[in-house]
Amino acid sequence: MTGFHKKLWLGLAAMAILSPLGIYLPEKLGAGDAWGEWGSDTLKKMIGYLPAGLEKLADIWKAPVPDYNFGGEGASFGSQALSYIGSAILGVAVVALLLYLISRIVIRHEK
């Protein structure tokens, strides 16, 4: 690992530690879901009904860590923030490892 690589990884680590800003600021400023990413309950409140096809597909998959939150919906902000950092570390580990493995297999030649 070169010095430049180390600096980049440190920058990524700093991003992971600061990531709870991504849930703190929206809450402070009263911003809700991203447009088009509402849960079923929210959508039903917005338009008065739940589209039939959407209802069938909405719960097709149960993600192990929904919303980057290990603690469930009622968790305190502190616990959510720690969950968010934990999710950042888990996500980074998984995607970086996958990219490393795939590119090791795909890229064979030296330049």
Binding site: G30, L57, I60, A88, L99, S103
Partner: protein, 227 residues
Amino acid sequence: MHIPDGYLSPQTYVPLFGVSACVWTIALRKMKSELSHKHIPYLAMSAAFSFLIMMFNIPIPGGTTGHAVGAGVIAILLGPWAAVLAVSVVLIIQAIIFGDGGITGIGANCFNMAIVMPFVSYWTFRLIRSTENTGARFYIAAFLAGYLGLSVAAVLTGIEFGIQPLIAIGPDGLPLYSPYPLSIAVPVMALEHLALFGVLEGAVTMMVLKYFMKHEPDAVVGMREAS
């Protein structure tokens, strides 16, 4: 911009999954000829970067949230094909592990953010940069690459949402999937990204590229002549 399960009809998500799958196979082949071993650590880091930057939800006070994707700068640094792979892997993991974006939406979300976006960014950068490697024009090219890449992806997402009431209506006349028409979905997605999230993507693209040009300019694929 992560379309959840239930918002797209099968008529939309199945073909988009097919398109994305085809592009993935091409991307793997293209990466083989365009990249070398020194790029491998950067590929891993680029996926990490994209994953992390998407966690920074930016609020519109009292409204919605959005985020940058990082696909623009990855496309300039490692080439659009590498960006296709890196951001696709991120989006797939986000859907499977974190429920961010639907399983049925993987094809569509990858098409918008991991395929169209990196190519728009890459071509924008190459077109505007011309032969200049420094100076205002270079940085404007980098900014616009990120800005336009994200904005085009957002408009596409708006179109995919907006066509649902046109193509999938139940017997009772109500939309079966995403209920908002094109006349709402496209302007909302376009405006919030043109006004705010795209500016962030542009700034991030510019800053990260500047940092790479200072430390490892030879690795930057978007700076190669006539690629």
